[in-house]
């Protein structure tokens, strides 16, 4: 356990090195958030009976922009992908650590460290915005639920990312798989538009998928669109997917490593 912890720390410190890049991405997130919010403002102005209010959508978008790097399933683990492609995965295998545990820890750290840099400035800017466009601070209980759900979401993101990495043992070029993965995980996790804007019959199915257990659940809890028993149910699903996908990934890694052939050296 200690080795996983220090691995996590090394990746964190590594990610915190590039502060100028972080400043740029804070600005990007802020502009992106404003544009999204203005679009939804126009949509709500045009009437229509949406199951999410405008003010809930504003909170959803700001929190999404603040934590976007954490909910990112596909990008962020370049060193893992490179080690699969160039064969340095062989070194990893000589370490007296379980490969799944090792990489899963790294996946989590790779997402947490940029988020730690990014989220506070974005949140501060979002809280400073004028009234209809600003981020609202909800009740303490909601924040607690949000934090718990975020931790679960990060776990599910890591588990899905690991499944993606494992498929890369079988494919020579990763680009196509990654583009498809980005489209699917983004859309079904409420990355393009929040899931409550989907048609109702569609929502019933999409809510059950593991992608909804990533960013959608915590963001909807924070914004107040998901409350009471529905929130508990959604978090239960998060726990289910976390366990199921980690188990699947663990098993798949074991199977894959039995057959892996490292060329040359």
């Amino acid at each position: 356990m200690k080795s996983y912890f220090s691995l996590f720390r090394i990746r964190m410190i590594n990610g915190l090195q590039y502060r100028a890049v972080a400043l740029g991405s804070v600005l990007t997130r802020f502009c992106w958030g404003i544009m999204e919010i203005l679009a939804f403002f126009a949509i709500h102005q045009s009437g229509g009976d949406f199951s999410m209010t405008f003010s809930q959508t504003v909170s959803y978008i700001w929190m999404q922009q603040a934590f976007i790097l954490m909910y990112n399933v596909i990008d962020g683990d370049q060193e893992i992908e490179a080690s699969i492609q160039d064969g340095s995965v062989a070194y990893e295998l000589t370490r007296p650590m379980n490969l799944y545990g090792n990489w899963f820890t790294r996946c989590l750290a790779n997402r947490l460290s940029p988020t730690a840099l990014n989220c506070l400035p974005v949140l501060a800017l979002a809280l400073l915005m004028p009234v209809p466009y600003g981020l609202k601070f909800p009740k303490a209980m909601t924040v607690v639920l949000f934090l718990a759900s975020t931790v679960l979401a990060l776990g599910v993101v890591g588990a899905i990312a690991m499944l993606m990495h494992i498929t890369m043992f079988y494919t020579t070029s990763q680009r196509g798989t990654k583009i498809i993965g980005r489209a699917v995980t983004g859309f079904f996790a409420g990355g393009v538009i929040p899931l409550p804007y989907f048609p109702e019959t569609f929502q019933k199915v999409v809510n059950l998928l593991p992608f909804a257990a990533t960013q959608s659940t915590p963001l909807l809890i924070y914004s107040g669109a998901l409350t009471g028993i529905d929130a508990v149910w959604a978090m239960g699903l998060q726990i289910f997917w976390l366990i199921a996908l980690t188990a699947l990934g663990y098993y798949a890694t074991k199977r894959t490593l039995k057959r892996v052939v490292v060329q040359g050296g």
Partner: protein, 258 residues
């Protein structure tokens, strides 16, 4: 010229080597655009218009942006690698060759997988043309074609604009992505939807509204003067500052060493 064609053909051949990957990438691009399309469709299942624009008109906007972006990025997307080339000193090698610099940078990175995005754009355009309520006369059709062509040039310029900053920062400025990838994302609605200030900014500073909002007004308005079809051409003025910045960058360029 033959030299460039050869470079182009070599690049095509090398991308064709991994057919499965090429196919998956195209499919991925198609799916990405598909999710954007559904995000519009889902919203319009519950309302009739956004900011005074109907579903058909928004689809027209979306497809124009999608088409121009996919062409512009297929050609200019390679410029995204430019900061890395400067950083690694690869650009120094190009300076020694007696050939056009911009072409040397973009041709090896010409991205054929954008066909997926292009296909989606064409399908949506096919849906939008009958639904948009535009009476399609010769001048309207010419206006639509000009929107797409000038849009592609504009997106290419934006990629070049972003790359030119690498001369000064030696690193990529991801912030400028808001005008390339961001424009693709937000251009699915006419820019007037985002309010006056943003519309003005996108008219005067970064002329994205000139290939989208204003020509759309021309298409919708049955009584508009046919000269309106040339509105998108105004956006071509943006080439000048971009090219100037690039030239200025080359003049100031000090190698990053390698």
């Amino acid at each position: 010229m033959r030299f460039y064609l050869r470079l182009f053909a070599l690049n095509l051949k090398s991308q064709m080597q991994y057919k499965a990957s090429l196919f998956l990438s195209c499919l991925g691009q198609f799916m990405t655009a598909f999710t954007s399309f559904f995000s519009i469709k889902f919203i319009f299942m519950q309302i009739d218009a956004v900011g005074g624009f109907t579903y058909g008109q928004v689809l027209l906007c979306f497809s124009v942006i999608m088409l121009s972006f996919s062409i512009g990025e297929a050609v200019g997307g390679g410029l995204a690698n430019f900061p890395r080339m400067v950083n690694m000193g690869e650009f120094d090698r190009m300076l020694t060759r007696p050939r056009n610099l911009v072409l040397q940078v973009i041709i090896p990175f010409f991205d054929f997988t954008r066909v997926g995005l292009l296909a989606q754009g064409i399908i949506v355009l096919g849906l939008a043309i009958p639904q948009s309520g535009v009476t399609w006369r010769a001048d309207k059709i010419a206006g639509l074609v000009l929107m797409i062509v000038c849009g592609a040039v504009l997106f290419f310029c934006l990629f070049m604009f972003q790359a030119a900053f690498a001369f000064f920062t030696m690193n990529s400025l991801d912030f400028l992505n808001i005008f390339t990838y961001g424009a693709r994302q937000f251009g699915r609605y006419p820019f007037s939807v985002y309010g006056k200030k943003i519309l003005h900014f996108l008219t005067i500073c970064i002329p994205l509204a000139l290939i989208q909002y204003y020509p759309l007004q021309f298409l919708i308005d049955d009584t508009a003067h046919p000269a309106g079809m040339f509105i998108p051409c105004l956006s071509l003025l943006f080439i000048l500052p971009c090219y100037a910045l690039f030239r200025f960058g080359i003049r100031k360029y000090k190698s990053a060493g390698s």
